[in-house]
């Protein structure tokens, strides 16, 4: 197993740092899959994280100027590592003004992702910074847990309102209740509802638009054409999970969508440049 990458472009460095920083706000640890073409940050839905799962994909060519990856074997040409994204994020943040950043899989006191950079100085000899981020290599027999999630059989798909607005609403609702109901319909309407003994609060969003998933969607059993466009599909979720998702977003994505499987799962999809981030929040009773 071998991995070496070099980032020279400051925009690319910025980009990957922001992605990893977003991931670090969503989860404490996750799995990093390195393949020939892509980097995946995966969190598999386990009871421990409240059933939440995450899948983030970015293309390595948009990050690294040089990229050498030799996987576990030639048939399984990829590397799976368990990492703490917070450490990676911190390491990358300190080297933002470096001329070049090298990322390598190394073995120090334990397997590490070593981030090394030279920082420019006024004198001729630059400063050198090295961060060794400890990682755990995931054995091949467990790789099946970290496969790309399939698009769920959703009932409604809607574009999200501006994330900042949504975050403000959810932040305030969190003070009142632990659970929130997300509902949407095919007429571009979405409601966020909380209900307690004392009070119920609903925020209505209109004219959001519904993404068209095309023929593929209907083949997968997407929203059937006969579905009443006014009918709401809803799911009741733990409000903190939704808040965590919204807190982490630093950039306004080019596309933000929400698929709801009635009373089963809320599937959030963010697309920005070449990065796609999917977040699944299971519904609770």
């Amino acid at each position: 197993m071998k991995f070496r990458g070099k980032i020279v472009d400051v925009a690319c460095l910025n980009h990957v740092t922001r992605v990893i920083s977003t991931i670090s706000k969503l989860t404490k640890t996750c799995v990093l899959r390195l393949t020939a073409d892509n980097l995946f940050f995966v969190l598999s839905g386990k009871v421990a994280n409240g059933g939440v799962s995450m899948w983030c994909e970015l293309s390595q060519a948009n990050v690294f100027d040089e990229y050498q990856m030799e996987g576990v074997s030639s048939e399984d040409n990829e590397i799976c590592l368990e990492v703490t994204p917070e450490n990676l994020s911190r390491a990358l943040k300190t080297v933002q003004n470096a001329k070049a950043v090298k990322v390598k899989l190394t073995k120090k006191h334990c397997p590490c992702l070593t981030i090394a950079a030279e920082l420019p100085t006024l004198s001729s000899i630059s400063r050198v910074v090295t961060h060794d981020v400890p990682v755990d290599v995931i054995p091949r027999r467990l790789w099946h847990e970290f496969k790309e999630p399939s698009m769920p059989d959703f009932d409604v798909s809607v574009y999200l309102p501006p994330l900042k607005t949504m975050k403000n609403v959810v932040d305030r609702m969190k003070n009142l209740s632990n659970f929130l109901v997300i509902e949407a319909n095919l007429s571009g309407e979405m409601n966020l509802k909380i209900e307690t003994d004392l009070v119920s609060v609903t925020t209505h969003f209109k004219d959001l638009g519904n993404p068209l998933w095309g023929d593929d969607a209907s083949q997968d059993g997407g929203p059937s054409p006969s579905r009443d466009p006014e009918a709401m599909a809803q799911a009741r979720v733990d409000i903190r999970k939704l808040q965590q998702f919204l807190m982490g977003q630093q950039v306004n994505p080019s596309k933000a969508m929400c698929n709801i499987v009635h009373e089963r799962v809320v599937h959030l999809i963010l697309l920005h440049e070449d990065v796609s981030l999917q977040y699944f929040i299971p519904a609770v009773a």
Binding site: N87, R90, A91, T94, K108, H109, C110, C112, T121, L122, S123, I125, R127, V128, V129, T130, H131, D132, V133, P134
Partner: protein, 406 residues
């Protein structure tokens, strides 16, 4: 004591308090002829900070009437949590406060802090103080053979690579390279800790004088306050040190103020005895084996050997409640203790090794009380300088003859 600060001076004063609050929970306010000294020490006595504001810093500075005390002023010990909130929000102070008057009122045991604000508003705060000996660490920083000087910006750039939660770091100095690495405490799992190293060339320092290659491990957390202060005033920072195990002093100065932080450093692990008896002790005490005991008993210029002045009569209140830890053998030669059970006075000093997370690895600066009664062990009570701290319960002499401040 009575002093008046104006405008920007209030903000600087506040910033100094912020830096001192990183060190300890109590603030010593010591008015002297040379100026107003603000001092703090941490509970394990492994970090000490002193900000000395010269009379020029103030609009007005006077030491109070001679009738009150022999020296004309009172040394006050305040709780940091009573004075820091007054200066908590520096931006609002900058906006609203025009003048600030600080005075010590002995009859009522109060320090009075008055803010004269815009719109004719005056805020008066009365803070209870405890009379106390002036706190001083004896550390002859000018005698340290190794000196580095750099703009605060450089040091801040060096430490920014480490998370704010990082406790201890190791500064490694060679003629070719200066590097900082985070120090992994034994308690934490070394397999899980992120290891960071940053290094740069000595040329980046304004002044670089280092005799031998050495590694100094000290607590970064306690230093950050001073670095932040220095950076906000663009002051160059001097770093004075001798060897691992001896204290390191970071200081800044300008025309009207001097500030320094003295930190204990970890002793070299190579000097650990082969028998390693410390490992049979509880984890806390095993760290003592590594720790440097900063014994500052004398200001003799050529006393490279830390001599222990066993006349430690008074220890900080915090240590009196601590269990007596029998000092690991490594420390014995330094402490010159005969009883390994540490029941001697210096054993008590070891008891001041508290298990504070930041300093469990680092042993303390010893503060010896200055008293003419301290010659019971036959040590020369005329030792001119002794760091003084006591609870003030004994009737201690108030004047300290010729004690140099840092």
């Amino acid at each position: 004591m009575n002093c008046l600060l104006e405008g920007n001076g209030v903000k600087v004063f506040g910033k100094a308090l912020h830096a001192l609050s990183r060190i300890g929970d109590a603030l010593w306010l010591d008015p002297t002829v040379k100026g107003l000294a603000l001092r703090a020490v941490n509970s394990a006595h492994s970090a000490y900070a002193c900000f000395l504001f010269s009379p020029l810093f103030f609009q007005h500075y006077s030491l109070g009437s001679g009738s009150e005390q022999g020296s004309g002023s009172v040394n006050c010990k305040l709780l940091m949590k009573s004075i820091l909130p007054l200066f908590r929000c520096l931006t609002s102070i900058e906006r609203n406060v025009e003048r600030c008057q600080i005075s010590v009122s002995t009859p009522s045991d109060r320090v009075v802090v008055q803010f004269f604000c815009r719109h004719g508003i005056t805020k008066t705060h009365n803070l209870r103080f405890q009379e106390s000996e002036a706190l001083q660490a004896v550390f002859a920083s000018h005698l340290c053979p190794n000196v580095l000087k750099a703009p605060a910006r450089l040091l801040c750039d060096m430490v920014m690579h480490f998370p704010s939660s990082q406790e201890e770091i190791t500064l490694s100095v060679t003629p070719l390279r200066v590097s900082l690495t985070n120090y992994c405490e034994e308690g934490k799992d070394p397999m899980r800790t992120m290891y960071t190293e940053m290094s740069l060339h000595p040329d980046e320092f304004d002044f670089f004088q280092v005799g031998v290659d050495l590694d100094l491990t000290f607590c970064l957390k306690e230093l950050r306050g001073l670095l932040s202060f220095a950076e906000s005033h663009s002051l160059p920072v001097s770093v004075n040190f001798s060897t691992a195990g001896k204290p390191v002093c970071f200081s800044v100065e300008d025309v009207v103020l001097e500030a320094s932080v003295v930190l204990a450093t970890l002793m070299d692990s190579e000097s650990r005895g082969p028998s390693q008896p410390a490992e049979t002790l509880a984890p806390v005490t095993s760290r003592c084996a590594d720790a440097a005991v900063l014994l500052v008993g004398s200001c003799e210029a050529d006393s490279g050997e830390p001599r222990c002045t066993p006349a430690v009569m008074d220890l900080v209140a915090s240590s009196q409640g601590s269990p007596i830890i029998s000092p690991p053998p490594l420390m014995l030669p330094l402490l010159q203790i005969d009883e390994p059970n540490g029941l001697g006075e210096l054993g008590e000093a070891c008891a001041s090794l508290t298990t504070t997370p930041a300093s469990s690895t680092i042993c303390s600066l010893l503060f010896n009380a200055l008293s003419s009664e301290q010659d019971s062990d036959g040590y020369d009570s005329r030792l001119p300088v002794l760091a003084c701290y006591s609870d003030g319960e004994e009737s201690m002499e108030e004047d300290h003859t010729g004690s140099p401040s840092l």
